[in-house]
Symmetry: none
Subunit: 97 residues, 2 copies
């Protein structure tokens, strides 16, 4: 149920993007993977290495996978050389956190 | 409730495909087992031996079994000669992980 409102693209989605140590999280609106990485890179002051899902570290590499992401998905923008790690409160996969 | 949006096929599903040691996980969109294996093989740089369910190592060998996979299923693409092993955090069967 996406709508054209106030000049926003119908494809715009809202994301929450954190850095590798989860010390900062930014709300970012984007209609493409390229736009999301550019905006998050500027906002978090990170040289983009890769963009991954915060929940399990899945790489978001393609626009087609980006299209399937839910509104309000939490992502992590990794700097060059940084690696995803699970949230410290989640000691096992599938833990609800 | 699949919809034809933005030119995506109605049969497309979103998967998360990891390599044998779970060091890399990629978001992959595919509408068939053949497409999924080809895309994951390229993205993970793996010569495809077999594609299995990450949770219990079940072989995904047929298109009809592929059809039954849920959106966002986690799979593992094994290189020739590699074997599935349970996640190290899951020490016992039935553990939620």
């Amino acid at each position: 149920t996406q709508q054209l409102l106030f000049g926003l693209s119908v494809r715009n989605k809202s994301f929450r993007v954190t850095n590798a140590d989860r010390s900062v999280k930014k709300g970012i609106i984007a209609d493409s993977l390229e736009t999301l990485v550019n905006k998050a890179s500027f906002s978090l002051n990170v040289t983009p290495g890769s963009l991954v899902l915060d929940e399990d570290g899945t790489d978001v590499e393609t626009e087609e996978f980006f299209e399937t992401l839910q509104n309000n998905s939490v992502l992590m923008l990794l700097d060059m050389g940084e690696k995803w790690s699970p949230h410290p409160n989640c000691l096992s996969r599938g833990h609800v956190c």
